[in-house]
Symmetry: C2
Subunit: 605 residues, 2 copies
């Protein structure tokens, strides 16, 4: 049931006919009550309901979302509460009978959902879709009421449905089977921040009531620009669409077609989407040789090597005047040649600037050397190029370099040990030589991402998962606050005593109640002068995909609007390894100190 | 790389050209050495080999099986051994560079493979295909040698390549990444039992040398009948095919087309094949209501309900003569009505025999009652049928039954608690009433199945997996000996004091060296007179798929040809549950006693 546009109607007399109608109008799933009101409590031979056999098991599972009776199992009235529980348990039993892997949908009515949480946890098969209004429905009613005081309005505003969901989420132990369905409504448009926060939740779908549609001049059903933007945000995190209408609605296919167009406009379909929200252990190219597959992926980045070429080009032009072009040789040393993409960039730069270049390629991966050697023999037979199968830290060059080029950067800048490697290669560079890149900076910010948290939690049984940093194509996330600069490294570093340890505390402000699930990690690097590469979300280099952000998990905790949190981050070094530690500190409390002594994620020297 | 026909050639100068040739001749994978001999030990700029870039990473992974150098890393000669290790490690490094999820193939040369096992365990990416000759190649050489004594031949016969593999398998800790590739050869045809034993191993493929093919009268390359049968056995467990030829062979497409035909003839494509070798926890319909999906699957069995109908029909004819047909009513009580398939069988039987039937349907699943009620109102409006939403053990009928019909049988006969249920329903039956079925018997036999063992082992971290019985569509198994009858239950059981506990020891004989991985469980049942249902492999009812066999795991142990083993099996009962215990006992040792006190698999009353 992935990527669907669903038709939601209630008061339907025949589910097979609803499915037929939905399919005829370009929907591929329906949501409807399972006529539970017609199902007697005590099965009674004299009063049968419809049989399970009206649909095949496959159709029950794949074509129908069951909306459960809209009863309040957490009502303050004991009698109502008891009745509601019986109704809901009856619905769930019937749903579990009809579907073995399907989904039921239930609507939150307020902040108290303790009994609902208990019922959610008793159902073992399939998923729960928790329907949550995007803003408190009470707010909408005030528009039509004269008696509401300013105080009433303020109270309703504070009673934020996200908090209803948040309380339920913890009550069901953050189960991966419980997803959220956001209900839009035509009388109240959510703020940008409200929408953005939901993107960090495990969103199954959004419900669009047909009343959100307006007619355009050609009498077509369309959405206003503001709603298009809001819905576009949800589509971008791959939320499905549920259109809610009444059974007599005649514009069904217009809604579906309109939404399908909106989906195709807002849903990026890049090749890497299978990586979304996945956690990967960062590469360690220094201690583990990269394989050919990894090289191949990196080489296809359409932007990165062009910017390296621009940087080398600018450096060559700065060092060698037009007059010296034919006579003055520039020695370029490539630290980490891989399968040759940076060498190509250097040769291109030399050709474009018509400067004389001698290229030394140092590469420690003997498997990559084989491919490089072949390139020297074939592609670069007429170039002044020399390959050395060495670790740059142990290499004695035949001559010193004017320009040192490297791409030893990980998603967090220094996490593939570029500081240690480049410091070790300092002896290869002339006193006035330059390093490309010459500076890199890491950035962090606090994130809410229920999906990433669930993924981390699933690793806990096998590894100390909360002491790892992960590489992840972040998708279902909410940036709690903007990234800030953390650690900086410059090259060449000619300090007497080089210290690559770091420690810093950064303060972030919470804009809206939310849950902290971890810390996002990014970097930017200056290659030459103002030529930069960046994966900081605020300045991301357009079109570059070589690096996914990092994610450093924390234990989930609810944060309050207006609150400040401090994030303390360490870069530690010993004789054998480098590692990060991190800790969240609030006014009242120091949270868990992660990865002490590098017992989880560490980078071997 | 699933379901492939692979072209294996050595001495190939260009891998891309080999792939091109293979594809043009209807192969979808190639196997070849990775020209490792050309790969220098110390990467050397002056002596390059081919670059990794001759194929894309996807092609390296999906189109090429790498055959490693045929060197003896376990040679008794220290110098040879050392050199062989260096060669093999070099090959593995290059293979790991080119493929990140691909496979390497290496050939066993004899019983000693300790060093090979160590190297296998160092490679972390992709799979190992271990090439094993199906019979000792030495045997073939005797045909051409006059000097071989009878003793030599006997020794070579004892030196069984299965034992080479078996030793290696344990040395690599039964890794799921290590699979076996069986090499056929034209000079020695394996016995039936030799072939059957390999079917219990994790077979990746078989290698067919082109020399196995002969020309038929139309000058087409074909296989002799005997080889067709042998290869058909391997195909039936979904082994892939590797055709091994020399680079100048002109009949490539004939081999591929012939094998594809053989595959389509021997590979069953039933709908349930996704269940093969999977372990499922047995259903417990007494304490957990079946869902609609499960009912639907059962109802589609084309054979089972027809045999029930035959049984009821025969019973009606026996009880009611033609003269009484219009006047004598037969009260049939259906214990467990589900969604109605047995009721249909009863009505069909009544119609065909023109006998008068009143049907009481007792069903404890209130969800199924809803579907039954609807059927009474619609399909069976003119029948004498009455539904009761009750547990048969608590039911007080309006009258007693002449015939009691039930299908409370699990894969092991009594494991869905039919003895307890039918004993409890005894009070519903007239003194001369009959039960359909009237007898059921369980059967067991020892099995080798490396794949099932691996699947059980993967559960160990979360449950006491070796104390469970599983339902499994057995595919990759070797029946070490034939099934024997274990426990029998007859109905109605009018004994004064009913005892449904059982204990029995059965003795099995080992026909060939093998590994015991567990015990297969089956049953047959007599419905009426000689009308039977059976899933005992020796007597399996044709076309019936309602029950998969059971599998009771044991810890793997190698057994020797001619040895006897005893399997002791208990059926235990307490106030709340029923469970099995099992234990293997040999002359020298009592193995682990499984599921003591029912702490693992047990059936709740």
């Amino acid at each position: 049931m992935s990527n669907y546009v669903c038709l939601h109607q209630e008061g339907v007399s025949s589910i097979p006919k609803l499915i037929e109608k939905a399919y005829a109008n370009n929907y591929n799933v329906v949501a409807t009550s399972i006529n539970a009101n017609m199902v007697p409590f005590e099965p009674d031979e004299s009063d049968p309901t419809y049989p399970a056999t009206i649909l095949s098991a496959v159709d029950w599972n794949s074509k129908v979302i069951f909306t459960l009776s809209d009863v309040d199992v957490d009502s303050p009235n004991a009698k109502l509460r008891q009745h509601a529980k019986e109704v809901l348990l009856r619905d769930v039993a019937w749903a579990e009978h009809l579907q073995n892997v399907g989904s039921v949908m239930v609507r939150l009515r307020g902040p108290e959902n303790e009994n609902l949480a208990a019922i959610v946890q008793t159902k073992t098969k399939g998923n729960w879709f928790i329907q949550v209004p995007i803003t408190n429905p009470e707010l909408a009613t005030f528009e039509h009421r004269k008696d509401a005081s300013a105080e009433d309005v303020a109270l309703a505003e504070q009673n934020d449905p996200w908090n209803w969901w948040n309380k339920l989420r913890f009550a069901v132990k953050q189960s991966t089977k419980v997803k959220v369905v956001i209900e839009l409504n035509d009388s109240d448009r959510p703020s940008k921040e409200t929408v953005r926060r939901w993107l960090g939740e495990p969103i199954e779908a959004i419900i669009i009531p047909s009343s959100l549609f307006v007619r355009n001049r050609s009498n077509y059903c369309v959405l206003k620009k503001e709603w298009q933007v809001i819905i576009g945000h949800f589509i971008s995190v791959r939320a499905n669409i549920i259109i809610s209408t009444n059974p007599t609605d005649k514009a069904l296919s217009q809604y579906a077609d309109y939404l399908k167009k909106l989906i195709s406009e807002n849903c990026d379909t890049h090749e890497l989407n299978s990586y979304e929200n996945m956690l990967e252990i960062p590469l360690q190219p220094l201690c583990e040789n990269l394989d050919s597959y990894t090289y191949e992926v990196f080489e296809t980045d359409p932007v990165k090597y062009k910017l390296y070429q621009d940087a080398v080009q600018a450096a060559l032009l700065d060092r060698v005047s037009d007059e010296e072009a034919k006579t003055k040789l520039t020695v370029v040393m490539l630290l980490g040649g891989g399968r040759g993409p940076l060498a190509r960039a250097v040769f291109n730069a030399a050709e474009l600037t018509k400067r004389q270049v001698r290229l030394y390629i140092i590469e420690k991966n003997s498997n990559a050397i084989r491919t490089l050697s072949n390139m020297v023999k074939t592609l670069w037979a007429n170039k002044d190029v020399h390959i050395f199968s060495k670790d740059m830290r142990d290499f004695s060059p035949p001559e010193l370099a004017d320009i040192m080029v490297s791409e030893l950067l990980g998603s967090f800048g220094d996490n593939e040990l570029s500081p240690e490697c480049l410091d070790g290669a300092l002896k290869l560079l002339k006193p006035d030589g330059i390093s490309i890149p010459y500076k890199s900076t890491s950035y962090i910010n606090p994130l809410m991402s229920a999906v990433l948290h669930q993924n981390v939690s699933q690793l806990v049984s096998t590894v100390p998962a909360f002491d790892y940093g992960y590489v992840s194509l972040l998708k279902n996330i909410y940036h709690i606050d903007e990234p800030q600069a953390l650690f900086e490294f410059t090259h060449p570093n000619r300090a007497e005593k080089i210290d690559n340890t770091r420690c810093k505390v950064l303060t972030f402000t919470i804009k809206k109640d939310c849950v902290l699930h971890g810390i996002g990690g990014y970097f930017d690097t200056h290659l030459y002068k103002d030529i930069c590469l960046s994966i900081n979300p605020l300045t991301h280099t357009a079109g570059m995909f070589s690096w996914f952000p990092m994610f450093f998990p924390t234990r989930p905790r609810t944060l309050k609007e207006g609150q400040n949190i401090n994030i303390k981050f360490w870069r530690c070094v010993d004789a054998n390894k480098v590692w990060y530690e991190w800790q969240v500190i609030t006014d009242s409390k120091e949270w868990e100190h992660h990865n002490i002594c590098g017992t989880g994620y560490n980078m071997r020297l």
